[in-house]
Symmetry: C2
Subunit: 663 residues, 2 copies
């Protein structure tokens, strides 16, 4: 049961695709203050609050405040209140049942979830459609919500293969060396990512002529080895006379404009740049059509970046800051003067005041970017997806984005942005997965091993032991860090086996992902959703993966194992490789389990089975006809398996087949 | 058994006070590369590495690299390799026994503990005395080490009372309001801290004439309520004509000088400032004598800050950076040019190249600061302690420092610097305690509730539940954060009771601290030191406190409890207040225990007792003649109790008395 209430004049986000009329009467559940734009409801002691998708903190969001305003800041500490994405759906669950609430707004919104007052939830949002959802239980509420926002993006099956990435691969030789590194180490791989250096001076839809003299040839050679190249696309377009993308966009008015009507100039990787106005249908269509240049070279997947949009500076603010610095020359600076200089320079990047200075031309008229900020990444990714639909309608392409908003889940997946090589980010990765699923994002993953800072061998191994369960499984790191490829470390056998396990799991993972997309279900679920009356099931470092599994990664350095809570009897699978594992039924309750660095330990739920393929060197060599089933059943049991190649959209209808597994 | 090996020409740090002759022959245990200045030894799979005092990461330091170079950077994430202090003592322990190693150096040293290669420990240090220590077990090794570095600082007993601090209390009225806040809430308190705003324009040893027109009167009024004022002292001295501290120091050559022989000018709170040359005995004596100004006002305790030394900028580097910014005006900056500007401004603070540009006049001649950097905070604090000894020789003063080095443990305690209101910093606080003790620092504590960022009520409550066990128990926060005083939150009864528990524990905590100081023992010990053959005792989120207790704080938001591992049967004490608790013996093994936000749960070891006082509103009202004993004994048991007031050094000889507790 969904009811919609409108406050102010919300911009049409197109997050909801079902036509839901406005409800009559006052909105229940929340006390509404129309002047303060606040929505307040009490929280009982036992209430938990789930959702908000890509956000900091725990599965239960209670005890902190969150801001929905997409932000490019890679230092993800506990002080943070926003990340790269905005997913304004939450569920309040307690002893008196549960309800869902979606605050559909393109602008900034704030969620104070027992932060200011421990017993109060207060949301602040101007111009918002609020959808209140009642249901039988949390899963039902989520399913109703997912239905009104439309089916989630389904990637091609190869996109579930392992990918290697780094900002710092400079040229064709570097890419070939990575492919050789994995091949020589006998480690499976399906994709290698191209970060910004493949472009000519960071210009969108160009290829560096010296570094990649024949991208088509390279892509073809790689495909022959089962490897896809996946290039990055940045949001902003370099200002450069004669650069066709810039010239075309400028001539047609396709860039965001300042108050003066001229394209608004910001600084990003290429230096001075302008922002495609992806909220204009014409501009979006135009921007998306440029992906052709790479599609024609044999590229089948992309990652869209810098689309919060991230700004290193705006031209106006930069030069004002430089003046402040220039004025301070030669003076004895008292603290306030010194702070003025460092603050002027230090607040250039992603300064939200810049968002107030440029505009979009939308179907409902000219709007200030600040008021629709959260829609930018969504519509950049939509630009690509809508073009793919024109380019080859039935083909599944890989597409995921850094910034997003609910609605974008129909067009692509996400990676959770620039994390770091921190153990705490491994745990954050785990905790974020269910809330992302709640908000429609199924094809998700974090940069495994950590993007920023230097990883360690044990951190990467432990993180991969989680990453083998996430649909997007990519090892990615930034410029200047130590080598992070799996073959760069001493314990090669451990890496080889853990990557192999991933491939064994792909038939299960892809089947579960597709089913969840089709049915509006969650692939990653908190235990509390499945065992609502078990207070101990509020544990936050174990989650359910699909219908059959519970995972419990180790996320502390030097830990030889961890505690695990079983809400019911489960079968522990201790896996050394996809075809080398032991099974042991453990009774419900608390257990301390040892987990060596080169093992993956997870649990199979009672009454369930897990299909396993033989390890393969990439998805195209997966033998899905020869699956083994790990079982914890006492009678014949059906498992619904995706039996297709996962390359065509049209294949979906007949590709889910019920397989009977003998007890 | 301690052997000393010299490499290069180490600066005399005076960390070691026993005269240990250089050993003959090659140094065992480590492969030494004299050209690379490296000391390498293999690590077996089961080896653990303990020590390094104030550092990041776990109790077992394995799997990361650490740099000993005191650093003022409050963003303490997992990427960090150094903090505010340098404590170069470690113990390698494994199946073949243990050994200790102290790398006594005033300069930068690096510890790669299985980071580059998982199975190798590599230390890099130039000009170093290496002390290798063999012993029966880890405790014995630590005791031997502690003996050669001299007895640890013992604070007055009142310093174990609770203290409230904030950068932002501006004036006398603010201080009186805090005192009233605690009094009205009926919460105990022993001290209120004065941060930098009590000074006149941040000038050392001045008192702001309008904000604190009568500090002596204020101190006296507060003492009448049982509250001590504890002012901050910063390392650097403002450059200002007519300011007597500056004028005196300049006239006598007591400031660190640049290559040109002139005082080296840096920017800190007061703007342009100079650094007292605390490595010169004359300058140290001179600087210390200025504490008189506050002692004469009735002040009995100090915290020394900014003594890494922290530099916002050096005058030369600042003006060079401003030139770079000025040159960029009006240009279209490509990425490299833009980065040049932001980097020039962004790397001004604590730029280690500045440390190469000024000099100390020491008893062994003129030395560059970079080569003796780690000794600065140590000798600033020594300056104060040596003066207190002259001012009132028998009196115990409160004294602790942000920066330190081994050796300073004889002169004062430490707080662990500018942390943040992060749950991970609560855990870091716990994990750091044993290593600080190993290195001689017994009077230690972290900023409870967190210094940087906004705390939450639950975080502060959970952190206090750890803080009641640390000798320094101070709630401190930075400018601009939400109110963090215990009376500022809703659950006042919980705060009142938890602070009360602290006061009940003081007889035990002070007794244990004094005994550990006198005997060279550790007050906080990892379980692995006590139960060396129990592999599960490598658990890192529980530690022993003194001879009787094991603590296991909850450090996760929204957690209703936690797991605890008992290496042997222990008695669980579930405490609502110092005179309101339950006792329950739990068998050895794993347990999940519920811990409500307003409870403290800890364990009493078999064969031990815990003295408890009645809750009191400050230490002067503690009734130590009417102690209760919590017992887990089956026969009469002696406990050695400190029975004095803890105000005079001379009292110590007779103040430790054996009390027989009946079974």
């Amino acid at each position: 049961m969904i009811k919609k209430y409108r406050f102010g004049k919300p911009f049409p986000t197109e997050a909801v695709i079902e036509n839901i009329p406005e409800a009559q009467g006052a909105m229940p559940r929340f006390a509404v203050d129309k002047n303060a734009h606040t929505f307040t409801c009490p929280l009982a002691k036992e209430d938990r609050v789930y959702g908000l998708g890509e956000q900091v903190r725990g599965i239960n969001k209670r005890g902190w405040h969150y801001v929905s305003y997409n932000e490019d800041d890679p230092i993800i500490t506990e002080k943070r209140t926003s990340l790269y994405a905005t997913h304004n759906f939450l569920v309040v669950a307690g002893e008196k049942g549960a309800f869902g609430a979606f605050f559909d707004s393109a602008a900034k919104a704030e969620f104070d979830i027992g932060y200011t007052h421990a017993d109060e939830l207060k949301i602040t949002a101007i111009d918002v459609d609020v959808y209140l959802i009642d249901g039988e239980n949390i899963d039902d509420i989520v399913r109703q919500f997912r239905k009104i926002i439309g089916q989630s993006y389904i990637p091609p099956k190869w996109a579930l293969g392992f990918g290697q990435s780094r900002w710092g691969y400079k040229c064709e030789e570097d890419i070939r060396a990575v492919a050789k590194g994995y091949r020589d180490a006998n480690m499976p791989i399906d994709s290698i990512y191209l970060d910004i250096d493949y472009m000519e001076r960071y210009k969108d839809f160009t290829v560096h002529p010296e570094r990649y003299p024949d991208l088509k040839g390279l892509a073809s050679d790689m495909r022959a080895e089962g490897i896809h190249l996946v290039p990055i696309i940045d949001a902003a377009v370099k200002v450069e006379d004669g650069y066709s993308v810039y010239e075309e966009g400028k001539a047609n008015g396709y860039f965001c404009k300042g108050a003066d009507g001229e394209p608004y100039v910001v600084g990003v990787w290429p230096g001075e740049s302008v922002l495609p106005d992806v909220l204009s249908p014409e501009a979006r269509k135009w921007f998306g059509s440029h992906y052709k240049v790479l599609l024609d070279d044999g590229i089948e997947g992309f990652w869209n970046d810098m689309n919060e949009p991230a700004l290193f500076y705006s031209k106006g603010r930069l030069h004002a800051a430089l003046e402040i610095a220039a004025e301070a020359r030669g003076r004895n600076l008292v603290l306030e003067d010194f702070n003025k200089v460092t603050s002027a320079i230090g607040t250039l990047a992603n300064n939200i005041n810049d968002y107030k200075e440029f505009y979009h031309e939308t179907p409902v008229g000219r709007v200030c970017h600040a008021d629709v900020h959260n829609l930018y990444g969504y519509n950049m990714t939509r630009a690509a997806a809508e073009y793919f639909e024109r380019y080859e309608p039935d083909k599944r392409f890989l597409l995921f984005s850094r910034s997003s908003c609910i609605g974008m889940h129909r067009y692509g997946g996400i990676w959770t942005g620039d994390n770091a090589s921190w153990w705490s980010h491994l745990l954050l990765n785990l905790k974020m997965l269910p809330s992302l699923n709640m908000c429609g994002f199924l094809f998700v993953g974090a940069d495994l091993g950590g993007f920023g800072d230097n990883t360690t061998e044990d951190l990467l191994l432990r993180w991969l032991a989680l990453g083998i369960f996430t649909p997007l499984m990519r090892n990615h790191t930034t410029l200047g860090t130590r080598n992070q490829e799996c073959y760069a470390f001493g314990q090669k056998d451990a890496f080889r086996r853990i990557l192999g396990i991933r491939y064994s799991l792909i038939p299960y993972l892809y089947s579960e992902l597709v089913k969840c997309a089709v049915r509006g279900d969650m692939m990653f679920r908190p235990l509390a959703f499945e065992y609502p009356s078990d207070k101990r099931a509020t544990v936050e470092d174990q989650i359910l993966v699909g219908e059959s599994l519970m995972i419990c990664p180790v996320y502390e350095q030097n830990a030889a194992g961890r505690y695990v809570y079983l809400p019911e009897d489960m079968k522990m699978i201790r896996m050394l490789a996809g075809d080398d594992y032991t099974e042991e039924v453990l009774p419900a309750g608390d257990h301390y389990i040892e987990v060596a660095l080169d093992e993956v330990v997870f649990f199979l739920r009672k009454g369930h089975v897990l299909p396993l393929a033989k390890p393969a060197k990439n998805t195209s060599e997966l033998d899905e006809k020869a699956l083994q089933y790990v079982k914890y059943i006492d009678r014949d049991t059906e498992y619904e398996l995706y039996v297709g190649k996962g390359e065509k959209k049209s294949e979906l209808a007949g590709a889910l087949k019920k397989v009977t597994v003998k007890a």
